[in-house]
């Protein structure tokens, strides 16, 4: 149902299709039969939010219960927002068109730090009090989950609870508890306290944080029986976990407009910069049968003709050949193409390649991450130059003429040799194209290299490291740019300013809550968008709040310092992270989970790769 108040204005904004709902497979229910109304909010535009797999899963799962109605809510773009404010129209759910102000749950997914301001902006537009202490009664429970919930401290004051880890089970437990508490007439405070007893639920208001004079955390003290450490939740059986049979099929083009099929969670590799790799341990796979069935069903009910097999490192799926074999049995006849993002340089061969191009040829992207072997050893990206060249040779033989390579700059212990090594490596890929006798005649090779700036993230072995300054990042980017002479190489880099701000929040503490609130009050949001981002304004806000951004970004933390997220547990022990950090300094790599267990701590979940038979054991 289109919100009646907004309908007349829809033709005054860009892409009105963002605001109307009504897509195939969106869920409509009779309000009178609903017990719990859940607003699933994605703090960015429709096109971005609709591409997010987590939302698709939870939307379908919630709506599979007759008494829950979960609706989608996205951040309105600036033109629409202006009209909403002028005409006093509160933020609404796409399905019912109703304002979400009085919904029982307002849930956000935390995908990236730069969306924090959008969360507050959305609450404001929904006329919901920003701070959890200002919300009363058993309604407007504001919750969040997703990767950035691993350090939710910079937004702790605004949320009633965070879900730590994977959400499929814990969300429902909280909703059930909510229904029970409402029936029994319990207060909001009683409800939140009971929630804190559920594993994987973090109720920030039940923790007092004290600081030393230098601004570092002195202690985090739970009260009212809340647990001292909050342990993440994980799904143990991937073949029986809920997966949607239908995706909402958007009517306007979105970023990832295809079937996305999860093939496993976690990653065996342990690249030391990669937060997702540590947060999602241990690796748990879905069986080829389950994947095959789910893909086929999704294609049938969505009309999509493209499937993306999603994971952190697709070529590490143990039964990849078997799976592709099974999928191509029907996908070719039904004109459905397959793509495998996140391929590793060393997990690539002609057989996989031939399956992927059965219907359509997609681009090839690899992430060597660093330009020299030493640097790759430091970050534990166990990929060699030879492997990259070999892989590119296969790709060029297979008819590809363009590859994309992803790198990071600003990694710990990095020198200018390492930075320039990125350009040298790209040149070698170009050379390898011309060595290939079977290359397509008359076609030029194009090697696109992209560098992002390294941002140390919580729960990684680099969580103690200082981040490069904006100036240093810029110098490195320029040095690399100068080093590249071939016109067959295209160099793209991320704006250093954006990474700097992201660095502030990634390892921030609760003192930043007032900064974010103040920023939103001054009209700052959509920081993930170049057209909106303004570092100068941000620095002014941070200074006005009496804080120093370099304290969060540029400072090296000691191993003994209490980190703002130390009371949250993702299974990997701090001892292991310290050990990994020390290995990095020695340019030493750590074997992956399938080669050898390094005792990170994730085995305590009793499932996944930790209990697979390793070759060395057979």
């Amino acid at each position: 149902m289109i919100n009646k108040r907004i309908e007349p204005y829809l033709l005054k904004v860009q892409k009105p299709g963002r605001y109307v709902g009504g897509e195939i497979n969106s869920v409509y229910k009779n309000k009178d039969e609903i017990d719990v109304r859940f607003a699933f909010c994605f703090p960015d535009t429709y096109e971005i939010g609709m591409s997010h797999l987590g939302m698709k899963i939870l939307y379908s799962q919630f709506n599979s219960f007759p008494y829950i109605w979960c609706e989608r809510v996205f951040a309105p773009w600036l033109d629409m927002e202006k009209i909403m404010i002028e005409k006093d129209i509160p933020l609404w759910g796409l399905e019912s068109g109703d304002p979400i102000t009085d919904f029982d749950f307002i849930g956000f997914t935390l995908q990236y730090e730069l969306s924090f301001t959008n969360i507050l902006q959305m609450l404001k537009l929904a006329k919901i009090p920003l701070r959890s202490c200002d919300r009363k009664g058993l309604t407007q429970i504001v919750v969040a989950g997703g990767p950035c919930a691993c350090n939710p401290e910079p937004i702790a004051d605004f949320f009633d609870m965070f879900f730590i880890g994977e959400g499929e089970e814990v969300d429902l437990e909280v909703i059930e508890l909510f229904r029970k508490c409402r029936d029994e007439g319990k207060t909001r405070e009683e409800f939140l306290q009971l929630c804190s007893q559920i594993e994987g639920v973090y109720v920030p208001s039940l923790y007092d944080v004290e600081y030393f004079d230098d601004g570092t955390v002195k202690s985090v003290t739970p009260k009212n029986n809340a647990p001292k450490i909050i342990h993440k939740r994980i799904i143990r059986d991937m073949d029986n976990v809920f997966y949607p049979e239908r995706f909402v099929v958007p009517m306007i083009e979105i970023v990832h407009d295809r079937v996305v099929q999860e093939i496993f969670r976690g990653c065996i590799r342990g690249c030391r910069f990669c937060q997702a790799g540590f947060l999602n341990r241990p690796v748990r796979e879905k069986s080829p049968d389950t994947i095959d069935k789910q893909c086929h069903t999704l294609c049938k009910y969505t009309g999509y003709d493209e499937i993306s097999l999603s994971s952190l490192s697709s070529s590490d799926y143990t039964k990849i050949r078997e799976l592709l074999e099974q999928l191509t049995k029907w996908s070719v006849d039904e004109n459905v193409s397959l793509s495998l993002p996140s391929m590793r340089v060393d997990g690539f061969d002609e057989e996989i390649l031939s399956k992927l191009k059965t219907v359509r040829k997609s681009g090839l992207t690899f992430a060597p991450e660093a330009g020299t072997q030493r640097m790759r050893n430091v970050i534990n990206k166990n990929v060699t130059e030879e492997e990259l060249i070999q892989t590119c040779t296969i790709a060029f033989k297979g008819g590809w003429t363009a590859v994309k390579l992803y790198f990071m700059i600003g990694l710990p212990t990095e020198t200018y040799d390492d930075v320039l090594g990125i350009g040298t490596l790209a040149q070698q890929v170009v050379d390898c194209y011309y060595k290939n006798e079977n290359r397509q005649k008359g076609k030029q090779v194009k090697v696109t290299i992209s560098t992002s700036s390294f941002i140390p993230k919580p729960f990684t072995p680099f969580q103690w490291e200082p981040q490069d300054s904006i100036e240093e990042t810029h110098n490195k980017q320029m040095a690399l740019k100068k080093h590249i002479t071939s016109r067959k190489i295209v160099y793209n880099y991320h704006e250093a300013h954006v990474s700097y701000l992201e660095g502030v929040f990634a390892r921030g503490d609760r003192k930043l809550c007032k900064v974010i609130e103040e920023a939103v009050n001054r009209g700052i949001h959509f920081d993930g968008w170049d057209s909106c981002f303004n570092l100068e304004k941000w620095l002014e806000v941070i200074r006005d709040c009496g804080l120093d951004p370099d304290f969060y970004v540029r400072r090296r933390r000691g191993f003994d310092e209490v980190l703002p997220w130390d009371h949250i547990d993702y299974g990997v022990t701090k001892k292991f992270l310290i050990q990994e950090c020390e290995q990095a300094y020695k340019n030493t790599t750590t074997p992956n989970c399938r080669e050898k267990c390094s005792a990170c701590g994730a085995a305590k979940y009793g499932r996944g790769v930790c209990f697979e038979k390793r070759k060395s054991m057979v």
């Binding site: 033709l11 299709g17 109307v20 099929v249 009517m251 049938k300 999509y304 003709d305 004109n335 219907v359």
Partner: protein, 220 residues
Amino acid sequence: MKNVRVWYRKDGACRFISHLDINRTITRALQMSEIPLWHTEGFNSRLYVSFALPLSLGFRGTYESVDIRLIEENYPYDEIISRFNSYSPEGLTAYEVTEPVMKPAAICYAEFEIIITSEEHTNDEIFDYANTLLNSEKILVEKTTKKGTVKQVNLKENIVRYTLKCTQNGVELSIVLPAGSVKNVNPSLLTDVIEKNCGFEIFTDITRKELYTENWQLFR
């Protein structure tokens, strides 16, 4: 193999999506419908669909059509209609299937119904402004061509016929304009000048009602 023309209405939420998006949405609906349809045989094979005349974002349409190619020549038309409707979003409704009589290139004129309203001004006021404009000798508007150059067009000489009424719902303008691949005039060019003439914000609700050939036959 047999080409058929599916006639549908565009309304509701689908009113707010562009022609490209309609194309994608209908393709997916047909993909799901399992109607035995022909796919193109090029390097990137895709479902064959061909639209008579694109409809702008924001417009409703009651006389829209898309051509598809059936592999089974005897496939029942009512089955096409019911499958199309069960797999397309609300707002896209098929109501008839016919064999194509004319080529889309035969389209020459389109009839629109436009309802104009305002938040703060009366319908009489809008009527006066619109009426004066439509009665003037020339209605000059700037039109950006495909090449990006701006040229001046006299809308007045393009208006085939019109009626203007003031009703309770707003000012109703029924108008016939050139349409099709040779010459096409978008009615929003006209409503934009009306708004400029009024000097206040207006709201327009535009429906494309019918399509005609050069000698005023209904497009079939």
